[in-house]
């Protein structure tokens, strides 16, 4: 197992390196905007552009820039470790900005994940146990809405109804950290983003859970479990659910990994200063190192989540181990 993990980690590192190179190619070589010109003001002289370019590190050859970037990520730069470089926009270190934004996104992602697991999976279980009942039909109807209604529709709708019309100030947009504003304010301002973001996933997970569980409950080992005289509750939870959860757990890992890279629509609509919103801002303002950093982080979460999910799967399904 140890060897397997090491091999996979090396693969993760390789994939991330590839991501960095491709991002550099896309944003440093191909774009029509030149950040040195943009950040040199309204009437830039050639000397000014050259100075800005030099300060941004853009005057070197592309391979050199890439190598320096990778080196700084691993070894740190003058702003600390990992070396995430300088933001052209604020001309300050990227690391504190990215870390604080990442914190917000993590809170958003984890909260939403909790909501969609607590909402989606029980609904899916109950639906599976009573297929074609009223509950099942309602649940699958809800699932259809959840899967179809996009965040940029549900988000503003939520804000409009609860914050604007009903005047529930605590449900408005914006991020209010626990440290500064207390648990209550922090929580109420997250209700909207969590709910809206989780709805899509909850719906999806409800459908998946239902389908998996129905299939699992038709398996022979369920019959054996009943034949042993186990209570129906035990049969469903320990035998049925246990088997049908495995694909869900892996999917959850991948979904969460992707979400940690930033849910930019939710973040923009609810004015949460997360890393997804920052990616958009960075791209539109030509803040090149910010773009690479955010892409790298998102890539890291996804590839790492893939690795974790594979390992977890081996724990959950003994048939997969050591193969």
């Amino acid at each position: 197992m140890g060897q397997y993990i090491v091999r996979r980690l090396l693969w993760v590192a390789f994939v991330l390196l590839l991501i960095v190179v491709i991002t550099f190619l896309i944003f440093f070589v191909m774009p029509p905007t030149d950040p040195a010109v943009i950040f040199a003001g309204k009437q830039p002289t050639p000397e000014l552009i050259a100075e800005v370019k030099r300060q941004f590190g853009l005057d070197r050859a592309l391979p050199v820039q890439i190598v320096l970037f990778v080196k700084r990520v691993f070894l740190g730069d003058q702003y600390g470790w990992p070396g995430l470089g300088l933001s052209f926009n604020t001309r300050s270190a990227l690391k504190p900005i990215i870390l604080s934004r990442l914190l917000v996104t993590i809170q958003l992602a984890l909260g939403a994940a909790l909501v969609w697991v607590l909402l989606g999976i029980p609904i899916g279980i109950l639906s599976a146990l009573k297929p074609r009942s009223i509950f099942d039909r309602l649940a699958m109807g809800f699932a259809l809405v959840g899967v179809s209604a996009p965040v940029f529709f549900l988000g503003p709708l939520f804000l409009y109804i609860f914050w604007f019309r009903f005047g529930l100030g605590g449900l408005g947009s914006g991020y209010y950290s626990i440290g500064q504003y207390g648990l209550g304010t922090w929580f109420t301002h997250f209700i909207g983003p969590w709910t809206v973001l989780a709805l899509l996933y909850a719906a999806f997970y409800a459908r998946m859970t239902r389908a998996n569980l129905i299939e699992t409950m038709a398996q022979d080992y369920i019959r054996t479990a009943r034949a042993k005289g186990l209570s129906e509750r035990r049969v469903v939870l320990k035998h049925g659910l246990r088997a049908s959860l495995t694909p869900l757990v892996t999917m959850f890992g991948l979904d969460l990994g992707g979400l940690l890279g930033g849910a930019f629509i939710t973040e923009t609509v609810f004015n949460l200063k997360g890393i997804g919103a920052y990616a958009i801002k960075a791209v539109f303002s030509g803040d090149l190192y910010a773009i690479v950093d955010v892409t790298l982080i998102a890539g890291f979460f996804i590839t790492f989540a893939n690795l974790v999910v594979d390992i977890v799967y081996a724990f959950l399904d003994p048939r997969v181990r050591y193969s």
Partner: protein, 637 residues
């Protein structure tokens, strides 16, 4: 399994919890507000922007954003001279600020002597007077290459001895400081609009003990020490004992918010309420990426208004404010001192022919463009280079008139007939150069709506354009790279830097041409060496349209130089008016279509609204609110 009863109970508990916290949340502690005849003193102006958009990270030496200039000039930094920070032409008048009075100018116009007021103080923790050395230090920073002074060209080549150099700031020979309260500028050439340049934030006094620690572009932006009526919240916490002990001011997070509070060291007797009334106790500006949310918050009372002209109200909301009588007074529209224009490239056929360019000016249906933009609230129809607030003398000047500014197709076609591209005399462009002409445009909002109008208008004179909709920054970079040879573009706008038409004239000066980052998109007055520098294709194009140099491109350099030297006054004004007319009639690089307005939306809590003509933003030092809030208690998320 959770039973039904338990589930219902939990649901009830959660709803109660949500309501309890929700009703209690938001807002800050209420202080008392005093009022006198409608205008209330105190309170906090709470505003939001989608993004600060600073070009130089709020370091006054390099910062070029108009909104930032407003924050500096209204709140934070006093300069030798300043403006009254009000709307209209009076808002562009120069008045003394740190200077006790207008300067003594030598007869040859090369020496300006200023006497400073006593008692103009830096904010805590510095607690000391502003001296002439502090002002001179600002100019030293402008000349320091590593600080990337983005408008350093206003001073380099004008002030003697001020040339950009690579080392740390060093004294400038052309600036004398015989004592703490006297500063003398020696100029290399007569510069009539010098006073405007001395009102710009880069020239504000900078304390060496703090600013001297930050010699890289943008770094000082988080440590700006106030010399004005307000300061950044937390400035007093700066530990100035050494450069290493300095930490960024807590009231400014470039990713999130800016909080301004009163500067306790500010002595109002050294200032004038005409220039700065300072009603509010503070300003809190937060970032909100959701534009509709900003306007909703203004209506719900969580914000007091917008602060940037770039925070455009979405069409539906704008309609509300235009039609609802309860809201009408909360929409304020002033002149933005900015022109939106179509630029034509003198190097690319068919626009190398002046008759074609004149025909374009005749044919464009500006009335339809204004409609596409959403009506007069978003702009007045432009007929010359400068907006009337910058150049009042050309306010009624319309060299290419048409009924209702809807375009005059006949006149346009008549003009076309005189061009070499109308071979069959039908008033339309003939030949392959008239088709598939790329026009660079912006890819959102009013620009998208306006593109078809331009397309249809130009089709009337046989010019068929292909519209390229690009993101704002990309659009600019595309047209400011000379060797892209973009024939025509509608994405561009130009706002004044200060109220002298010189800041528009630079657009047509040959010095405005550079291979990347050009502002003279039309290439007016381009020389052969300039063409050569920008590449073979540019040189080839130049040779083609100038017959290998036999018919050089029209140039306005000499005319500009002439007006530039004149001192402020009627003669200078008339000179620039003639310059404008010359551009529009004899060079015709542009077809201007709108003068931008600056629409702002406020909430009912604003008891006095004012617009700062200099910055193009809300005049923070003249507005008043009645919310009585303490700026340090407003949640900034």
């Amino acid at each position: 399994m959770v039973t039904r009863r338990t589930a219902r109970f939990l649901a009830l508990v959660s709803i109660v919890a949500v309501l309890a916290t929700a009703c209690g949340g938001g807002g800050g502690t209420k202080a008392t507000a005093t009022s006198s005849g409608g205008v209330t003193k105190g309170g906090t102006y709470r505003t939001a922007v989608e993004d600060f958009g600073f070009t130089g990270a709020f370091d006054p030496t390099g910062e070029y954003l108009g909104n930032a200039w407003g924050l500096y000039s209204d709140l934070l930094l006093r300069t030798l001279v300043t403006y009254k920070h009000i709307a209209g032409i009076p808002g562009d008048e120069i008045v003394p600020d740190i200077a006790a009075s207008m300067p003594e100018v030598s007869a040859d116009g090369l020496t300006y002597t200023f006497h400073l007021k006593k008692g103009v103080m830096f904010g805590p923790p510095l607690d000391r007077e502003v001296t002439s050395a502090d002002i001179e230090y600002a100019f030293e920073r402008i000349a320091t290459k590593s600080l990337a002074a983005q408008y350093g060209f206003y001073y380099e080549g004008t002030i003697e001895g001020l040339t950009t150099h690579g080392g740390p700031p060093k004294p400038i020979s052309g600036i004398e400081t015989p004592d703490d309260y006297t500063i003398i500028f020696h100029l290399t050439q007569p510069t009539g609009d010098l006073l405007y340049r001395l009102a710009m934030p880069a020239t504000a006094p900078m304390p060496k003990e703090v600013a001297g620690c930050f010699l890289k572009a943008g770094d000082y932006g988080r440590y700006v020490v106030s010399s004005g009526p307000y300061m950044l919240n937390g400035e007093d916490q700066l530990d100035t004992s050494s450069c290493d002990t300095l930490k960024p001011i807590s009231g400014f997070d470039p990713d999130k918010f800016m909080v301004f509070v009163r500067n306790p060291n500010y002595d109002a007797s050294t200032d004038s309420p005409e220039v700065r009334a300072n009603y509010v106790d503070g300003v809190v500006m937060t970032i909100d990426t959701n534009t509709a949310d900003i306007f909703n918050k203004i209506q719900s009372g969580d914000l007091d208004g917008t602060s940037s002209a770039t925070t455009m109200p979405p069409k539906a909301i704008l309609q509300q404010y235009l039609t609802d009588p309860a809201l009408k007074n909360n929409l304020h529209v002033d002149s933005g001192d900015r022109t939106w224009y179509i630029t034509m490239n003198l190097l690319t056929p068919p626009f190398d022919d002046i008759h074609v360019r004149k025909a374009v000016n005749y044919v464009i249906d500006k009335q339809a463009i204004q409609k596409a933009w959403g009506g007069p609230v978003n702009g007045d129809i432009a007929t010359s280079v400068e907006p009337p607030t910058v150049m009042p003398l050309t306010a009624d000047y319309d060299p290419y008139p048409s009924a209702n500014h809807a375009g005059d197709v006949t006149a346009a076609q008549n003009e076309m007939k005189q061009s070499k591209y109308d071979t069959n005399n039908d008033g339309k462009c003939d030949g392959s150069v008239c088709n598939n002409i790329i026009m660079v445009n912006r890819n959102y909002g009013a620009w998208l709506d306006m593109a078809p109008v331009i397309q249809d208008s130009l089709a009337e004179i046989g010019i068929n354009i292909t519209v390229r909709n690009l993101e704002t920054g990309t659009a600019y970079t595309t047209i400011d790279t000379v060797d892209n040879l973009i024939p025509i573009a509608s994405n561009a706008g130009w706002g004044k830097d200060y109220a002298d038409p010189y800041t528009f004239a630079v657009l047509f000066d040959s010095s405005g041409i550079s291979c990347t980052g050009a502002i003279n998109y039309s290439n007016v007055g381009m020389s052969e060496s300039q063409a050569k520098e920008c590449g073979d294709s540019v040189l080839a194009a130049w040779n083609a349209v100038t017959n290998n140099g036999a018919d050089p491109l029209p140039s306005v350099d000499d005319k500009a130089k002439e007006c530039y030297a004149l001192p402020l006054g009627d003669q200078r004004t008339q000179c620039w008016a003639d310059f404008d007319k010359n551009i529009m009639e004899n060079v015709v690089p542009w077809a201007p279509y709108l003068y931008a307005t600056a629409p702002f939306v406020t909430a009912d809590s604003v008891t006095k609204y004012e617009y700062d003509q200099f910055s193009g933003a809300i005049s923070f030092c003249h507005i008043a609110v009645n919310n009585g809030l303490d700026p340090t208690q407003v949640p900034v998320g």
